[in-house]
Point group: none
Chain length 251, copies 2
DNA sequence: TGAACTTCTGTGATCCCTCTGAAAAGGGGT
DNA sequence: ACCCCTTTTCAGAGGGATCACAGAAGTTCA
Protein backbone atom coordinates (compact mmCIF):
# COMPACT_ATOMS: atom_id res chain seq x y z
CA UNK A 1 0.00 0.00 0.00
CA UNK A 2 2.45 2.45 1.15
CA UNK A 3 4.98 2.48 -1.50
CA UNK A 4 3.95 2.56 -4.93
CA UNK A 5 6.73 1.62 -7.12
CA UNK A 6 9.84 0.34 -7.99
CA UNK A 7 12.41 2.47 -6.33
CA UNK A 8 15.97 1.38 -6.62
CA UNK A 9 16.46 -1.24 -3.96
CA UNK A 10 18.44 -0.77 -0.80
CA UNK A 11 21.47 -2.09 -2.59
CA UNK A 12 21.58 1.05 -4.68
CA UNK A 13 20.19 2.06 -8.04
CA UNK A 14 19.10 -1.06 -9.86
CA UNK A 15 18.37 0.68 -13.15
CA UNK A 16 20.23 -0.06 -16.32
CA UNK A 17 23.77 1.24 -16.49
CA UNK A 18 25.88 2.02 -19.49
CA UNK A 19 29.30 0.63 -19.93
CA UNK A 20 30.59 3.99 -18.74
CA UNK A 21 28.64 3.66 -15.51
CA UNK A 22 26.02 6.33 -16.22
CA UNK A 23 22.33 5.63 -16.66
CA UNK A 24 21.07 4.55 -20.08
CA UNK A 25 19.50 7.47 -21.94
CA UNK A 26 16.11 7.03 -23.55
CA UNK A 27 14.02 9.47 -25.58
CA UNK A 28 10.23 9.10 -25.50
CA UNK A 29 8.32 10.45 -28.49
CA UNK A 30 4.52 10.52 -28.46
CA UNK A 31 1.94 13.22 -29.06
CA UNK A 32 -0.28 12.12 -26.19
CA UNK A 33 0.98 13.77 -22.99
CA UNK A 34 -0.57 11.03 -20.85
CA UNK A 35 1.60 8.46 -22.55
CA UNK A 36 4.89 10.33 -22.45
CA UNK A 37 4.15 11.33 -18.89
CA UNK A 38 3.51 7.87 -17.56
CA UNK A 39 6.38 6.34 -19.52
CA UNK A 40 8.83 9.02 -18.45
CA UNK A 41 7.94 8.68 -14.81
CA UNK A 42 8.14 4.95 -14.80
CA UNK A 43 11.44 4.82 -16.63
CA UNK A 44 12.91 7.50 -14.41
CA UNK A 45 11.84 5.63 -11.32
CA UNK A 46 13.52 2.56 -12.79
CA UNK A 47 16.77 4.46 -13.07
CA UNK A 48 16.85 5.53 -16.71
CA UNK A 49 17.72 9.01 -17.94
CA UNK A 50 14.67 10.23 -19.82
CA UNK A 51 13.76 12.99 -22.23
CA UNK A 52 10.38 13.41 -23.93
CA UNK A 53 9.09 15.06 -27.10
CA UNK A 54 5.56 15.49 -28.46
CA UNK A 55 6.31 15.59 -32.18
CA UNK A 56 8.94 14.63 -34.71
CA UNK A 57 10.50 18.03 -35.06
CA UNK A 58 11.02 18.40 -31.31
CA UNK A 59 12.27 14.84 -31.11
CA UNK A 60 15.01 15.40 -33.66
CA UNK A 61 16.11 18.64 -32.05
CA UNK A 62 16.19 17.02 -28.63
CA UNK A 63 18.03 13.96 -29.89
CA UNK A 64 20.82 16.17 -31.18
CA UNK A 65 21.82 17.28 -27.73
CA UNK A 66 20.36 14.55 -25.50
CA UNK A 67 22.17 11.80 -27.43
CA UNK A 68 19.86 8.95 -26.42
CA UNK A 69 20.92 5.32 -26.43
CA UNK A 70 17.36 4.28 -27.20
CA UNK A 71 14.17 5.86 -28.51
CA UNK A 72 10.55 4.97 -27.85
CA UNK A 73 8.83 6.23 -30.96
CA UNK A 74 5.13 6.53 -31.69
CA UNK A 75 4.53 5.98 -35.39
CA UNK A 76 1.55 8.33 -35.46
CA UNK A 77 2.91 11.83 -35.05
CA UNK A 78 1.18 15.09 -35.95
CA UNK A 79 3.92 16.56 -38.09
CA UNK A 80 6.30 13.97 -39.48
CA UNK A 81 5.75 10.39 -40.42
CA UNK A 82 7.31 7.96 -37.98
CA UNK A 83 9.49 6.58 -40.73
CA UNK A 84 10.82 10.01 -41.57
CA UNK A 85 11.77 10.58 -37.95
CA UNK A 86 13.36 7.18 -37.85
CA UNK A 87 15.61 7.71 -40.82
CA UNK A 88 16.80 11.09 -39.61
CA UNK A 89 17.43 9.69 -36.15
CA UNK A 90 19.55 7.03 -37.74
CA UNK A 91 21.41 9.61 -39.76
CA UNK A 92 22.17 11.42 -36.53
CA UNK A 93 23.35 8.37 -34.61
CA UNK A 94 23.29 5.00 -36.35
CA UNK A 95 23.79 3.10 -33.11
CA UNK A 96 20.52 4.14 -31.48
CA UNK A 97 17.95 1.38 -30.96
CA UNK A 98 14.28 2.04 -31.43
CA UNK A 99 11.11 0.71 -29.85
CA UNK A 100 8.07 1.49 -32.00
CA UNK A 101 4.63 2.21 -30.62
CA UNK A 102 1.87 1.43 -33.07
CA UNK A 103 -1.82 0.68 -33.34
CA UNK A 104 -2.70 -2.98 -33.37
CA UNK A 105 -3.94 -3.14 -36.96
CA UNK A 106 -1.00 -1.27 -38.42
CA UNK A 107 1.44 -3.94 -37.38
CA UNK A 108 1.44 -6.37 -40.25
CA UNK A 109 2.21 -3.64 -42.73
CA UNK A 110 5.64 -2.28 -42.58
CA UNK A 111 6.64 -2.38 -38.95
CA UNK A 112 7.51 -6.04 -39.15
CA UNK A 113 10.25 -5.25 -41.65
CA UNK A 114 11.85 -2.81 -39.27
CA UNK A 115 12.29 -5.25 -36.47
CA UNK A 116 14.68 -7.14 -38.69
CA UNK A 117 17.27 -4.49 -37.92
CA UNK A 118 17.25 -5.50 -34.29
CA UNK A 119 14.63 -2.99 -33.29
CA UNK A 120 11.33 -3.97 -31.73
CA UNK A 121 7.73 -2.77 -31.47
CA UNK A 122 4.82 -2.74 -29.04
CA UNK A 123 1.18 -2.33 -30.02
CA UNK A 124 -1.14 0.12 -28.35
CA UNK A 125 -2.65 -0.27 -25.88
CA UNK A 126 0.35 -1.70 -24.07
CA UNK A 127 1.21 -2.51 -20.49
CA UNK A 128 4.15 -0.86 -18.82
CA UNK A 129 5.83 -4.14 -18.08
CA UNK A 130 5.73 -4.96 -21.77
CA UNK A 131 7.41 -1.72 -22.78
CA UNK A 132 9.97 -2.08 -20.06
CA UNK A 133 10.77 -5.65 -21.00
CA UNK A 134 11.19 -4.85 -24.69
CA UNK A 135 13.33 -1.84 -23.96
CA UNK A 136 15.52 -3.90 -21.69
CA UNK A 137 15.89 -6.50 -24.40
CA UNK A 138 16.80 -3.88 -26.98
CA UNK A 139 19.57 -2.16 -25.09
CA UNK A 140 20.89 -5.44 -23.85
CA UNK A 141 21.19 -6.84 -27.34
CA UNK A 142 22.74 -3.62 -28.53
CA UNK A 143 25.43 -4.07 -25.92
CA UNK A 144 24.75 -0.73 -24.31
CA UNK A 145 24.38 -2.01 -20.82
CA UNK A 146 27.13 -3.17 -18.62
CA UNK A 147 27.47 -6.88 -18.58
CA UNK A 148 25.92 -8.33 -15.47
CA UNK A 149 25.95 -11.84 -14.12
CA UNK A 150 23.47 -13.21 -16.63
CA UNK A 151 21.25 -10.68 -18.37
CA UNK A 152 17.59 -11.46 -18.82
CA UNK A 153 17.52 -14.09 -16.13
CA UNK A 154 15.51 -13.32 -13.01
CA UNK A 155 16.09 -15.42 -9.92
CA UNK A 156 14.20 -15.43 -6.66
CA UNK A 157 14.94 -18.36 -4.42
CA UNK A 158 14.65 -21.51 -6.49
CA UNK A 159 12.40 -19.74 -8.94
CA UNK A 160 13.89 -18.74 -12.29
CA UNK A 161 12.47 -16.70 -15.12
CA UNK A 162 14.24 -16.30 -18.43
CA UNK A 163 12.99 -13.18 -20.18
CA UNK A 164 14.55 -14.07 -23.50
CA UNK A 165 13.44 -17.66 -23.73
CA UNK A 166 10.22 -16.84 -21.89
CA UNK A 167 10.81 -19.88 -19.73
CA UNK A 168 10.01 -20.35 -16.08
CA UNK A 169 11.23 -23.02 -13.72
CA UNK A 170 10.71 -23.75 -10.05
CA UNK A 171 13.51 -25.79 -8.52
CA UNK A 172 14.72 -26.83 -11.97
CA UNK A 173 11.24 -28.09 -12.82
CA UNK A 174 9.88 -26.23 -15.89
CA UNK A 175 6.53 -24.46 -15.55
CA UNK A 176 4.18 -23.58 -18.40
CA UNK A 177 2.64 -20.10 -18.16
CA UNK A 178 0.19 -18.17 -20.31
CA UNK A 179 1.26 -14.72 -21.50
CA UNK A 180 -0.58 -12.84 -18.76
CA UNK A 181 0.65 -15.19 -16.08
CA UNK A 182 4.19 -14.68 -17.35
CA UNK A 183 3.93 -10.90 -17.22
CA UNK A 184 2.47 -10.98 -13.76
CA UNK A 185 5.21 -13.24 -12.48
CA UNK A 186 7.87 -11.10 -14.11
CA UNK A 187 6.51 -8.05 -12.37
CA UNK A 188 6.51 -9.82 -9.03
CA UNK A 189 10.03 -11.12 -9.59
CA UNK A 190 11.37 -7.72 -10.47
CA UNK A 191 10.26 -6.50 -7.06
CA UNK A 192 10.77 -9.38 -4.66
CA UNK A 193 10.16 -9.03 -0.92
CA UNK A 194 8.10 -5.96 -1.56
CA UNK A 195 4.39 -5.69 -1.04
CA UNK A 196 2.67 -4.72 -4.27
CA UNK A 197 -0.87 -3.39 -4.23
CA UNK A 198 -3.46 -4.66 -6.65
CA UNK A 199 -3.64 -1.20 -8.18
CA UNK A 200 0.09 -1.27 -8.84
CA UNK A 201 -0.09 -4.69 -10.37
CA UNK A 202 -3.03 -3.69 -12.50
CA UNK A 203 -1.19 -0.59 -13.69
CA UNK A 204 1.96 -2.41 -14.65
CA UNK A 205 0.81 -5.73 -15.97
CA UNK A 206 -2.44 -4.86 -17.70
CA UNK A 207 -2.90 -2.42 -20.58
CA UNK A 208 -3.34 1.19 -19.62
CA UNK A 209 -6.86 1.25 -20.99
CA UNK A 210 -7.99 -1.81 -19.09
CA UNK A 211 -11.12 -0.82 -17.23
CA UNK A 212 -11.51 -3.95 -15.19
CA UNK A 213 -11.60 -4.55 -11.49
CA UNK A 214 -8.89 -5.66 -9.14
CA UNK A 215 -10.61 -9.00 -9.19
CA UNK A 216 -8.59 -10.20 -12.17
CA UNK A 217 -5.42 -9.74 -10.18
CA UNK A 218 -6.71 -12.10 -7.51
CA UNK A 219 -7.69 -14.54 -10.20
CA UNK A 220 -4.29 -14.58 -11.86
CA UNK A 221 -2.53 -14.76 -8.55
CA UNK A 222 -4.50 -17.92 -7.89
CA UNK A 223 -3.48 -19.29 -11.30
CA UNK A 224 0.16 -18.57 -10.54
CA UNK A 225 -0.06 -20.19 -7.16
CA UNK A 226 -1.44 -23.36 -8.65
CA UNK A 227 1.44 -23.57 -11.08
CA UNK A 228 4.30 -22.28 -8.98
CA UNK A 229 3.50 -22.94 -5.36
CA UNK A 230 1.79 -26.26 -5.99
CA UNK A 231 3.02 -28.64 -3.33
CA UNK A 232 6.14 -26.61 -2.54
CA UNK A 233 6.74 -23.99 0.11
CA UNK A 234 4.62 -21.04 -1.03
CA UNK A 235 6.44 -18.01 -2.40
CA UNK A 236 3.42 -15.85 -3.21
CA UNK A 237 1.93 -14.43 -0.05
CA UNK A 238 -1.16 -12.31 0.33
CA UNK A 239 -1.02 -9.33 2.63
CA UNK A 240 -4.63 -8.86 3.57
CA UNK A 241 -5.98 -5.42 2.85
CA UNK A 242 -2.83 -4.45 1.01
CA UNK A 243 -1.70 -6.70 -1.82
CA UNK A 244 0.76 -9.49 -2.53
CA UNK A 245 4.47 -10.24 -1.97
CA UNK A 246 6.84 -12.62 -3.64
CA UNK A 247 9.19 -13.83 -0.96
CA UNK A 248 11.97 -16.36 -1.44
CA UNK A 249 12.88 -18.26 1.72
CA UNK A 250 10.50 -19.52 4.32
CA UNK A 251 7.57 -17.59 5.75
CA UNK B 1 -7.62 18.34 16.77
CA UNK B 2 -5.14 21.14 17.05
CA UNK B 3 -3.95 19.92 20.41
CA UNK B 4 -2.92 16.64 18.93
CA UNK B 5 -0.12 17.89 16.75
CA UNK B 6 3.35 16.61 17.15
CA UNK B 7 5.94 19.28 17.30
CA UNK B 8 9.49 18.53 16.30
CA UNK B 9 11.17 16.69 19.12
CA UNK B 10 13.88 18.07 21.36
CA UNK B 11 16.44 16.60 19.02
CA UNK B 12 15.50 19.18 16.42
CA UNK B 13 13.45 18.96 13.29
CA UNK B 14 13.37 15.35 12.21
CA UNK B 15 11.40 16.01 9.06
CA UNK B 16 12.44 15.20 5.53
CA UNK B 17 15.29 17.17 4.08
CA UNK B 18 16.06 17.91 0.50
CA UNK B 19 19.39 17.15 -1.02
CA UNK B 20 20.20 20.84 -0.57
CA UNK B 21 19.47 20.61 3.15
CA UNK B 22 16.24 22.61 3.14
CA UNK B 23 12.86 21.19 4.06
CA UNK B 24 10.81 19.40 1.42
CA UNK B 25 8.08 21.64 0.05
CA UNK B 26 4.56 20.31 -0.24
CA UNK B 27 1.39 21.95 -1.55
CA UNK B 28 -1.95 20.82 -0.12
CA UNK B 29 -5.00 21.31 -2.34
CA UNK B 30 -8.49 20.59 -0.99
CA UNK B 31 -11.70 22.58 -0.83
CA UNK B 32 -12.55 21.45 2.69
CA UNK B 33 -10.76 23.76 5.15
CA UNK B 34 -10.82 21.07 7.83
CA UNK B 35 -8.74 18.83 5.65
CA UNK B 36 -6.15 21.33 4.49
CA UNK B 37 -5.94 22.61 8.03
CA UNK B 38 -5.24 19.31 9.68
CA UNK B 39 -2.87 18.17 6.94
CA UNK B 40 -0.93 21.43 6.98
CA UNK B 41 -0.54 21.32 10.73
CA UNK B 42 0.65 17.78 10.79
CA UNK B 43 3.06 18.18 7.91
CA UNK B 44 4.48 21.38 9.34
CA UNK B 45 4.98 19.74 12.72
CA UNK B 46 6.80 16.94 10.92
CA UNK B 47 9.21 19.43 9.42
CA UNK B 48 7.82 19.97 5.93
CA UNK B 49 7.38 23.35 4.28
CA UNK B 50 3.67 23.62 3.54
CA UNK B 51 1.39 25.77 1.44
CA UNK B 52 -2.36 25.23 1.00
CA UNK B 53 -4.96 26.12 -1.59
CA UNK B 54 -8.73 25.61 -1.67
CA UNK B 55 -9.28 25.33 -5.41
CA UNK B 56 -7.47 24.56 -8.63
CA UNK B 57 -6.97 28.13 -9.72
CA UNK B 58 -5.36 29.13 -6.45
CA UNK B 59 -3.29 25.97 -6.46
CA UNK B 60 -1.77 26.70 -9.85
CA UNK B 61 -1.02 30.30 -8.93
CA UNK B 62 0.55 29.25 -5.68
CA UNK B 63 2.57 26.47 -7.29
CA UNK B 64 4.15 29.00 -9.61
CA UNK B 65 5.93 30.77 -6.81
CA UNK B 66 5.98 28.17 -4.06
CA UNK B 67 7.67 25.59 -6.30
CA UNK B 68 6.58 22.52 -4.37
CA UNK B 69 8.44 19.22 -4.51
CA UNK B 70 5.20 17.37 -3.92
CA UNK B 71 1.47 18.07 -4.12
CA UNK B 72 -1.41 16.55 -2.19
CA UNK B 73 -4.31 16.98 -4.58
CA UNK B 74 -7.99 16.41 -3.98
CA UNK B 75 -9.60 15.22 -7.19
CA UNK B 76 -12.93 16.86 -6.37
CA UNK B 77 -12.39 20.59 -6.64
CA UNK B 78 -15.06 23.27 -7.06
CA UNK B 79 -13.60 24.96 -10.12
CA UNK B 80 -11.27 22.72 -12.09
CA UNK B 81 -11.19 18.99 -12.59
CA UNK B 82 -8.40 17.33 -10.69
CA UNK B 83 -6.94 16.03 -13.94
CA UNK B 84 -6.86 19.50 -15.42
CA UNK B 85 -4.96 20.77 -12.40
CA UNK B 86 -2.64 17.81 -12.65
CA UNK B 87 -1.67 18.37 -16.25
CA UNK B 88 -1.02 22.08 -15.71
CA UNK B 89 1.01 21.34 -12.63
CA UNK B 90 3.05 18.96 -14.70
CA UNK B 91 3.48 21.54 -17.41
CA UNK B 92 4.79 23.90 -14.76
CA UNK B 93 7.24 21.45 -13.20
CA UNK B 94 7.41 17.93 -14.57
CA UNK B 95 9.38 16.63 -11.62
CA UNK B 96 6.72 17.24 -9.00
CA UNK B 97 5.22 14.12 -7.45
CA UNK B 98 1.54 13.96 -6.66
CA UNK B 99 -0.50 12.24 -3.99
CA UNK B 100 -4.17 12.08 -5.00
CA UNK B 101 -7.05 12.24 -2.56
CA UNK B 102 -10.17 10.57 -3.86
CA UNK B 103 -13.45 9.03 -2.81
CA UNK B 104 -13.36 5.31 -2.32
CA UNK B 105 -15.66 4.41 -5.20
CA UNK B 106 -13.87 6.62 -7.69
CA UNK B 107 -10.71 4.62 -7.45
CA UNK B 108 -11.29 1.88 -9.93
CA UNK B 109 -12.21 4.45 -12.53
CA UNK B 110 -9.37 6.56 -13.64
CA UNK B 111 -7.09 7.00 -10.68
CA UNK B 112 -5.62 3.61 -11.16
CA UNK B 113 -3.30 4.16 -14.06
CA UNK B 114 -1.82 7.12 -12.35
CA UNK B 115 0.08 5.02 -9.89
CA UNK B 116 2.07 3.64 -12.77
CA UNK B 117 3.89 6.94 -13.11
CA UNK B 118 5.22 6.63 -9.62
CA UNK B 119 2.49 8.78 -8.14
CA UNK B 120 0.16 7.42 -5.52
CA UNK B 121 -3.30 7.93 -4.12
CA UNK B 122 -5.18 7.71 -0.86
CA UNK B 123 -8.91 7.20 -0.54
CA UNK B 124 -11.12 9.36 1.66
CA UNK B 125 -11.59 9.01 4.50
CA UNK B 126 -7.92 8.56 5.24
CA UNK B 127 -5.77 8.48 8.34
CA UNK B 128 -2.95 10.94 8.77
CA UNK B 129 -0.39 8.20 9.09
CA UNK B 130 -1.47 6.84 5.76
CA UNK B 131 -1.02 10.19 4.04
CA UNK B 132 2.31 10.71 5.71
CA UNK B 133 3.56 7.26 4.79
CA UNK B 134 2.57 7.62 1.16
CA UNK B 135 4.05 11.07 0.91
CA UNK B 136 7.28 9.83 2.41
CA UNK B 137 7.36 7.01 -0.08
CA UNK B 138 6.78 9.37 -2.97
CA UNK B 139 9.51 11.85 -2.25
CA UNK B 140 11.88 9.11 -1.27
CA UNK B 141 11.42 7.39 -4.59
CA UNK B 142 11.60 10.64 -6.49
CA UNK B 143 15.04 11.13 -4.99
CA UNK B 144 14.09 14.46 -3.46
CA UNK B 145 15.18 13.59 0.01
CA UNK B 146 18.66 13.12 1.17
CA UNK B 147 19.60 9.50 1.08
CA UNK B 148 19.68 7.98 4.52
CA UNK B 149 21.11 4.71 5.71
CA UNK B 150 18.26 2.52 4.55
CA UNK B 151 15.06 4.24 3.51
CA UNK B 152 11.81 2.72 4.62
CA UNK B 153 13.29 0.86 7.56
CA UNK B 154 12.35 1.96 11.06
CA UNK B 155 14.42 0.77 14.01
CA UNK B 156 13.81 1.17 17.71
CA UNK B 157 15.98 -0.97 19.93
CA UNK B 158 15.78 -4.51 18.65
CA UNK B 159 12.46 -3.78 16.97
CA UNK B 160 12.46 -3.35 13.20
CA UNK B 161 9.73 -2.33 10.80
CA UNK B 162 10.17 -2.49 7.04
CA UNK B 163 7.65 -0.26 5.32
CA UNK B 164 8.23 -1.71 1.85
CA UNK B 165 8.07 -5.36 2.73
CA UNK B 166 5.57 -4.62 5.49
CA UNK B 167 7.58 -6.85 7.76
CA UNK B 168 8.09 -6.47 11.48
CA UNK B 169 10.65 -8.27 13.60
CA UNK B 170 11.58 -8.18 17.28
CA UNK B 171 15.14 -9.28 17.94
CA UNK B 172 15.32 -10.89 14.52
CA UNK B 173 12.16 -12.88 15.22
CA UNK B 174 9.46 -12.08 12.64
CA UNK B 175 6.09 -10.87 13.91
CA UNK B 176 2.78 -11.09 12.05
CA UNK B 177 0.61 -7.98 12.27
CA UNK B 178 -2.80 -7.06 10.92
CA UNK B 179 -3.09 -3.81 8.91
CA UNK B 180 -4.32 -1.74 11.84
CA UNK B 181 -1.71 -3.16 14.18
CA UNK B 182 0.93 -2.35 11.59
CA UNK B 183 -0.19 1.27 11.24
CA UNK B 184 -0.33 1.71 14.98
CA UNK B 185 3.16 0.34 15.45
CA UNK B 186 4.49 2.49 12.64
CA UNK B 187 3.09 5.55 14.35
CA UNK B 188 4.65 4.58 17.66
CA UNK B 189 7.99 3.84 16.04
CA UNK B 190 8.04 7.13 14.26
CA UNK B 191 7.86 8.86 17.61
CA UNK B 192 9.85 6.72 20.01
CA UNK B 193 10.49 7.79 23.63
CA UNK B 194 7.60 10.20 23.36
CA UNK B 195 4.33 9.94 25.20
CA UNK B 196 1.45 9.79 22.75
CA UNK B 197 -2.09 10.47 23.94
CA UNK B 198 -4.93 8.25 22.90
CA UNK B 199 -6.46 11.19 21.08
CA UNK B 200 -3.27 11.67 19.10
CA UNK B 201 -3.10 8.02 18.23
CA UNK B 202 -6.75 7.99 17.24
CA UNK B 203 -6.26 11.04 15.02
CA UNK B 204 -3.21 9.66 13.28
CA UNK B 205 -3.88 5.99 12.89
CA UNK B 206 -7.64 5.90 12.39
CA UNK B 207 -9.59 7.63 9.63
CA UNK B 208 -10.57 11.17 10.40
CA UNK B 209 -14.24 10.31 10.32
CA UNK B 210 -13.94 7.44 12.75
CA UNK B 211 -16.60 8.02 15.39
CA UNK B 212 -15.44 5.41 17.84
CA UNK B 213 -14.07 5.67 21.32
CA UNK B 214 -10.54 5.76 22.60
CA UNK B 215 -11.24 2.24 23.71
CA UNK B 216 -10.04 0.81 20.40
CA UNK B 217 -6.63 2.29 21.02
CA UNK B 218 -6.33 0.45 24.32
CA UNK B 219 -7.52 -2.69 22.60
CA UNK B 220 -4.98 -2.52 19.82
CA UNK B 221 -2.21 -1.62 22.21
CA UNK B 222 -2.98 -4.83 24.03
CA UNK B 223 -2.88 -6.74 20.74
CA UNK B 224 0.51 -5.23 19.96
CA UNK B 225 1.87 -6.06 23.38
CA UNK B 226 0.91 -9.68 22.99
CA UNK B 227 2.77 -9.90 19.71
CA UNK B 228 5.74 -7.66 20.38
CA UNK B 229 6.40 -7.63 24.10
CA UNK B 230 5.45 -11.26 24.65
CA UNK B 231 8.06 -12.74 26.97
CA UNK B 232 10.62 -10.03 26.27
CA UNK B 233 11.41 -6.82 28.07
CA UNK B 234 8.38 -4.63 27.38
CA UNK B 235 8.80 -1.73 24.99
CA UNK B 236 5.26 -0.38 25.09
CA UNK B 237 4.65 1.42 28.35
CA UNK B 238 1.46 2.88 29.77
CA UNK B 239 1.56 6.42 31.12
CA UNK B 240 -1.49 6.44 33.27
CA UNK B 241 -3.93 9.23 32.56
CA UNK B 242 -1.94 10.33 29.52
CA UNK B 243 -1.23 7.69 26.92
CA UNK B 244 1.52 5.35 25.78
CA UNK B 245 5.26 5.42 25.02
CA UNK B 246 7.43 3.20 22.92
CA UNK B 247 10.80 3.02 24.62
CA UNK B 248 13.77 0.91 23.57
CA UNK B 249 15.97 0.10 26.57
CA UNK B 250 14.91 -0.72 30.11
CA UNK B 251 12.61 1.40 32.29
C1' DT C 1 -14.50 -23.60 -39.73
C1' DG C 2 -13.79 -25.94 -35.59
C1' DA C 3 -11.18 -27.06 -31.48
C1' DA C 4 -8.21 -25.74 -27.91
C1' DC C 5 -6.83 -22.26 -25.16
C1' DT C 6 -6.73 -17.82 -22.83
C1' DT C 7 -8.95 -14.07 -20.63
C1' DC C 8 -12.34 -12.11 -17.99
C1' DT C 9 -17.04 -11.73 -15.27
C1' DG C 10 -20.19 -13.26 -11.77
C1' DT C 11 -21.63 -15.72 -7.76
C1' DG C 12 -21.24 -17.73 -3.54
C1' DA C 13 -18.49 -19.51 0.44
C1' DT C 14 -15.07 -18.74 3.75
C1' DC C 15 -11.88 -16.52 6.44
C1' DC C 16 -10.30 -13.20 9.61
C1' DC C 17 -10.06 -8.34 10.85
C1' DT C 18 -12.33 -4.76 13.27
C1' DC C 19 -15.00 -3.06 16.68
C1' DT C 20 -18.62 -3.32 20.63
C1' DG C 21 -19.94 -4.39 25.20
C1' DA C 22 -19.08 -6.15 29.56
C1' DA C 23 -16.36 -8.05 33.05
C1' DA C 24 -11.92 -8.44 35.40
C1' DA C 25 -7.66 -6.47 36.96
C1' DG C 26 -4.81 -2.81 38.51
C1' DG C 27 -3.44 1.97 40.68
C1' DG C 28 -3.74 5.75 43.54
C1' DG C 29 -5.65 8.48 47.01
C1' DT C 30 -8.11 8.96 51.28
C1' DA D 1 -8.33 -1.32 53.70
C1' DC D 2 -11.63 0.65 50.76
C1' DC D 3 -13.41 2.98 46.83
C1' DC D 4 -13.24 5.02 42.39
C1' DC D 5 -11.39 5.42 38.11
C1' DT D 6 -8.40 3.76 34.48
C1' DT D 7 -6.68 0.12 31.96
C1' DT D 8 -6.64 -4.58 30.37
C1' DT D 9 -8.75 -8.72 28.91
C1' DC D 10 -12.38 -11.68 27.04
C1' DA D 11 -15.96 -13.16 23.89
C1' DG D 12 -18.58 -12.55 19.91
C1' DA D 13 -21.29 -10.02 16.04
C1' DG D 14 -20.74 -7.97 11.75
C1' DG D 15 -18.71 -7.02 7.54
C1' DG D 16 -15.16 -6.64 4.22
C1' DA D 17 -11.56 -9.05 1.70
C1' DT D 18 -10.07 -13.06 -0.54
C1' DC D 19 -10.62 -17.26 -2.87
C1' DA D 20 -12.75 -21.07 -5.60
C1' DC D 21 -15.56 -22.45 -9.23
C1' DA D 22 -18.10 -22.27 -13.44
C1' DG D 23 -19.01 -20.46 -17.62
C1' DA D 24 -19.20 -16.72 -21.36
C1' DA D 25 -16.55 -14.14 -24.65
C1' DG D 26 -12.64 -13.64 -27.31
C1' DT D 27 -8.30 -15.37 -29.49
C1' DT D 28 -5.10 -18.52 -31.82
C1' DC D 29 -3.96 -22.21 -34.66
C1' DA D 30 -4.57 -26.04 -37.57
Amino acid sequence: MASNDLSPGPSGPSGPQRADGGPVRVLVVDDEPDITDVLSRMLRSEGWAVAAAADGRAALELAREFRPDAVILDMMLPDLDGFAVLSRLRALSPEVCVLFLTARDAVEDRIAGLTAGGDDYVTKPFSLEEVLARLHGLVRRAGVTRRTERPGLLKVGDLELDEDAREVARGGEPVELTPTEFELLRFLMRHPRRVLSKAQILDHVWSYDFGGQAHVVELYISYLRKKIDAGRAPMIHTVRGVGYVLRPGAR
